[in-house]
Every structure is written in structure tokens, then in C-alpha cells.
């Protein structure tokens, strides 16, 4: 028996027609953008475009109609995501809300919370961010120190700091992991709770941008200084934040965004290659095509397992680890083999996309579970831990 299960998925009938519909939509509505902005495009926020996707029914498309969803299948959503990413569409603004915050609210939220947030998310008008990382809590999430203290009137007072919060400046809602009971050395995962925090209207919250090394501003630090939230901001069960949080993370590891971030650069290399391309370039094009094809089969297979109600945690970790290695490998491979006359400061599409990806790709194996954490999960699957 194989150690990991990767049965190929048979796409249901109707997928080609749906894919066509998405491509026509993109042709009509996607803003003109440079190849460099098409790379890692789920890190590019365009609020107007997110609203257009919402109007089209392309956000929360699997959710119940009562909350503005489309009740479509998870495979259809997968097809939508891979088409958006392959086209390089700027989907960063609503990505987190659609991928994990919305599904988490559907799973753990009260009826009021669901009604309050989900319809606005599906319209592409309400954006979410993840409040997990802190200065002292990266891979070791259980060490979060942001504290929540319940007041006599039932409201909660929050104090602490979140870090590396992507697009907090655009977001309306943060799902934050907060310590609500002092740490128990024998069970560090206990005593954590999640909160739905209105970033736009809660006093005591300060959002400060952190510039990344390319000069981009998606990172932020978010401070809570005696920030008071209502009792209904508590999300799910008090004290079960850890379990809720990890089930949220497993939703986000196997999607097409885990291997397509450097596709735009591959396409530029392909565009530049003619029928007289050197063997080294031809081989690189064939080799990357093989890896993209393989990862797509793996990623689709995990999507199929999720639809069937299986638990592909291990397989999802495999997809992310291998997908990140590909996304990170492409810029270095391209730099190795392109013409020695190409310089990173050139203005050509190829040079600009290469320069950007060399600098942004180190983040690919940090976000959503580091390489080391993933490999630890895989080793556990092998029975070594």
C-alpha cells in the first residue's frame, strides 16, 4: 500500500463549460496588468475587482444561498481559483475571506455572526485577515501572548500585538487567536480563544504598515490597547481556539495558490523561447511543465478527497511543500539559464518578473505553515514522531 493516497480525480461533466465562462469573464473584466503583477497574484489586492467577482457569484460560491453563497461544488470552486491564478488576476483582497475566514464562520459562527459577515464577504465588500502570528509566536502558535479578559458586563478587553498581518489596512475583520486563560505548562494549547474583531470600528486598535524588502506594503502590525469588543465577538467556543485554528489551517494548504505563484515567470520564459531555443532552455521548459502538471494532479486529488469527506492532512502538506519548492525554484532556474545579457534592472517583462519573484519567493515557504512544520507533519505520517 502506498504511504500517501493520491488517486486521480475525474472532473465532473460541466467543468469545461464553467471554465469557459470564467475565461470569458476574465477577458471582459480583468484589469490590464503587467506580467510581474500577475505573479503571486493572490498577494495583489484590487478592491474594485474583488467586488466584480462578488457580483458574478465568484466569492463564497460553495456557501449556502441564505448567506449569499452559490451552493456550488468544491471542485467548481477549485476550477475558479486555478483559472483566476493562472490568469494572474488580482485576488488578494478577498482571498483570505473566501478561503478560510468564511468557511470558519460557517463552521463555528453563530447564526447572527454568519448573517452579519458572510453576505458582505460574498459581495466582495468585506475583507478578512488572519490574526495568528505575533512577535513571539510564529511557527509555535501556542505561545501567543495577546490577552483577552472578560469584563463584568460580558464584554472583552484585548491587549497585545499581532504581526505580519496581510492586508490589515484593507480589512474589516480579523479572526484573532487570543489567550483567555493563563498558560498551563502541561497543556499549552488550552486556554486560547478566537475573536471576530471589527478592525474599522473598535477603539484601541492601531494598524501600522511594515514595508517588505521589495518596498511593498501588505504586512502590518496590529496593536490592541485596552480594545473593548462586545460579548458576541467571541468566536466558537471559549478555550477551543487552538483546535479551531488548526482546522482552519488545514483548509489552506493544498490549493492551486501553493504551486502557481511563479507561473507568470514560466510563461515569460516560454514566450521568449523560439523554435531555435537552446537545449538547456528547452529542457527547463519541459521539466517545469512536468512539475506543474504533477502538482496540479496532486492538488486536484486532495480537492477530490476533501469533497469525499476524507482527511487529507498529510497529502495537503505534501502538496504545499512540493508546490512551494517549485514556486521558489522557478526564479532561480530561470536566472541560471537566461541570456547573460539579461540584467535584473532591465525593463523587459522577463527581467522585471524575475527580479520580483527572486525577492518575494522566500515568503512562499513561510506563509501558511513553514517548510519545517510541514515536513514535521509528513514525518509524523510516516510514523517517525
Amino acid at each position: 500500500m502506498p504511504t500517501f493516497s493520491f488517486q486521480p480525480v475525474d472532473l465532473p461533466p460541466g467543468i469545461p463549460a464553467f471554465r469557459q465562462q470564467i475565461r470569458q469573464f476574465l477577458q471582459r473584466e480583468m484589469p490590464d496588468t503587467s506580467p510581474e503583477n500577475k505573479s503571486n497574484c493572490w498577494g495583489v489586492a484590487d478592491l474594485a475587482f474583488s467586488r466584480k467577482l462578488g457580483q458574478q457569484g465568484y466569492i463564497g460560491m460553495t456557501w449556502p444561498k441564505a448567506f449569499g453563497g452559490g451552493e456550488r461544488s468544491a471542485i467548481e470552486r477549485y476550477i475558479l481559483l486555478e483559472e483566476l491564478l493562472a490568469a494572474g488576476a488580482p485576488v488578494g483582497a478577498h482571498w483570505i475571506a473566501d478561503r478560510q475566514s468564511g468557511p470558519a464562520i460557517l463552521k463555528y459562527g453563530t447564526a447572527e455572526q454568519q448573517q452579519k459577515y458572510l453576505p458582505a464577504i460574498t459581495r466582495g465588500e468585506l475583507y478578512c485577515c488572519i490574526g495568528m502570528s505575533e512577535p513571539g509566536a510564529g511557527s509555535d502558535l501556542a505561545s501567543v501572548r495577546t490577552r483577552g479578559e472578560q469584563l463584568a458586563d460580558g464584554r472583552w478587553k484585548l491587549n497585545g500585538q499581532k504581526l505580519w498581518t496581510t492586508f490589515a489596512q484593507h480589512c474589516d475583520l480579523m479572526i484573532a487567536l487570543v489567550r483567555t486563560t493563563p498558560v498551563d505548562a502541561n497543556n499549552r494549547h488550552a486556554g486560547l480563544s478566537q475573536f471576530l474583531i471589527d478592525l474599522k470600528h473598535t477603539p484601541g486598535i492601531t494598524i501600522r504598515p511594515i514595508e517588505d524588502m521589495v518596498g511593498g506594503n501588505h504586512f502590518n502590525e496590529v496593536f490592541f490597547d485596552d480594545a473593548i469588543v462586545e460579548p458576541d465577538a467571541l468566536f466558537g467556543v471559549e478555550g477551543e481556539g487552538w483546535q479551531q485554528c488548526t482546522s482552519e489551517l488545514s483548509l489552506e494548504r493544498s490549493g492551486p495558490e501553493r504551486y502557481l505563484s511563479s507561473l507568470a515567470l514560466y510563461l515569460e520564459l516560454l514566450r521568449a523561447a523560439g523554435s531555435d531555443a537552446e537545449s538547456t532552455v528547452v529542457q527547463a521548459l519541459g521539466s517545469i511543465a512536468t512539475q506543474l502538471w504533477t502538482l496540479r494532479q496532486m492538488s486536484l486529488s486532495v480537492a477530490g478527497q476533501l469533497v469525499d469527506g476524507q482527511d487529507p492532512t498529510l497529502e495537503a502538506a505534501c502538496v504545499k511543500d512540493l508546490g512551494n519548492a517549485l514556486e521558489q525554484g522557478i526564479p532561480h532556474l530561470v536566472q541560471r539559464i537566461v541570456s547573460s545579457e539579461l540584467f535584473l534592472e532591465d525593463q523587459s517583462d522577463l527581467a522585471r518578473t524575475l527580479a520580483l519573484l527572486l525577492q518575494t519567493s522566500p515568503s512562499f515557504s513561510l506563509r501558511g505553515g513553514t517548510r519545517e512544520i510541514l515536513r514535521g507533519i509528513i514525518a509524523r505520517g510516516l510514523g517517525l514522531r
Binding site: T3, L11, P13, P16, A86, L270, L285, T294, I378, L384
Partner: protein
Amino acid sequence: MLAETVSRLFAEVESDQLQPTIDEMGLAGLMLSEGQGGAGCGWEELFEVLEPAGQYAAAVPLGENILASQLLGKAGNFSLSPYVEGSLQEGKFSGEVRNIPWGRAVDTVVAQAATGDVFSLDTSAAHCRENHNLADEPRDTLIFDRQAIGPLESADLLQYCALMRSVQMAGALEGALQLTAAYTLERHQFGRAIGKFQAVQQQLAVFAVEVAAVSCAVRAACRAATRGDAAFQIGAAKLRANTAVEIASRTAHQVHGAIGFTREHQLRQFTQRLWSWRTEYGNDRYWSEFLGRRVIERGAEHFWSDLTARDDRVAG
């Protein structure tokens, strides 16, 4: 079901009794139609049978038997090879058919000339130059002199063989992984099982991901081959299997230490096969150029739509 039956066969039957048992069970007829007395199976079932053959390092030409039987329209212990040098004149072949798995032991071999013609050759009058690969599997050259051929329907033997070998590679990679993972829990150093060290765990995880990727790619290629033109998928599956060999063999041997380097140890049954198989039926350079030229010919505008269309065609 099929996979369990053959796994038991490879686990329990003595190696010198394996081929007679396979003949007796009629496994060679797996891909013959029911009208031809076969099981009417496709490539996905071939995966179920050949993946265990790789995982148990079975020293039999089972894949060759099955594919040559399908091409010949009858079941038997036959072999095949796409490596032909010689000439076809008036229905007679003179020249060499090279690298035939178990060429010495089969009475018929299916070959493909440079012209693309596929034909069968009776081996009884051929001169055999015996050779073997790193894992001692026979890789013989048969030399023919004006041997009458049996013309067969056209097929791409290199692709057939590449997919067949890829399936075995998926199995051998899995076999090497399981052997290595088990060893890390048996072997103690510094007072604990070496598998408890993070440095070893992280290496094993990388190895496991490679194995998973190959298994997925080869399964997908088998599915595609059952349904029609699968040149891209077969090339990609073989290339993916080839590239995994390096990480897999390096890690397996590193973790096993000196014991894995001995003639007696089981590990070489996998690694020697994998090193040989990486070269057989297209090495990395061959398939990456084949695939690279295809994507260049189609252009950047078609890359993504071609990639998705391959699976969408099935959805219809």
C-alpha cells in the same frame, strides 16, 4: 483487489517459481480483450499489478509479458523493445534488437523499427548477446538474419515501455521509502531510534513527498493512456519518476549507512533498479526536451489551456 492478489504473489512465491506461477495464472493476458481470452483491462489495472512488482523488486518481466501479449493479441511470456537497428526488406528483418528484457528467455519479441513499423520476431533462430542491467535483470541483444516478421498494428513502443517502467519505478520508490522509514525506527544511536532525530525526519519527509509525486503522476498518466493520446502525460510521468531517483536513492543510502551498501542487503534491489530504470526508455534529457519542444511549439498562449484541457476532455 488486483493489487492485493499480486502483492501476495510477490511476497510469498519463491523467486524461481515466480515466472511459472505468473504463466499459470495467465497474468500476461491482463490487457487482452475478453474475446482474446484476456481480462480486458487497461493501464489503470496495469498500475495495480506492476506497482507491487516494483515494490517487491520482482525479478520477472511481467510488464513486458503483458504489453507484448496485448500487441500480439495472445498471452504468453513475450518481451518487447523499441531499440532496433537493422533493415526490413520484403517482410524480413536483418539486424539487432537491443536491450530486450529477458530476451534470452522469450520465444517472441515485439520490436519497432525507425520507420515506425511494429512487428514480431520469432527468436528461435536469433543469436543472443546476453547482458544485464545494474540490478542483474537480463537486457539482451538479439541478432537476426533475414528473419520473417509478423506485422502488427502501429503503436509507440517507447511510450508503452516508458509508462510501464514508470509504474515499476513508483513501486520501487515506495519500497525503498518503506524500508528506509522502518529502518530509522529499528536503528538506535546516541540512545534513541535515529528516526527520532529531526535531521533524519526532515530528510525522510522530502523523500516521501518525492514518492507521493511520482505515484500521483504515474497514476494520472495511466488514466490518460487508457483514454486516448497520452504522450504528454507519459513523458511527464517518466520524467517525474526519473528526477525522484536522485533524492530517493541518496536519502535511502544515507539513512541506512554502511549496511545498505552491502550486496546482501535488500536496499540495493530498489536502488540498483531505479538507477537502471532512470536511463531506460528515456532519461531526463530525452523527456524534458520532448516536452519542452511541445510546449514551445504550442506557445505561451496555449500552455495553461492545454494543461487543463487534458483533464477537461474526460469531463466532456
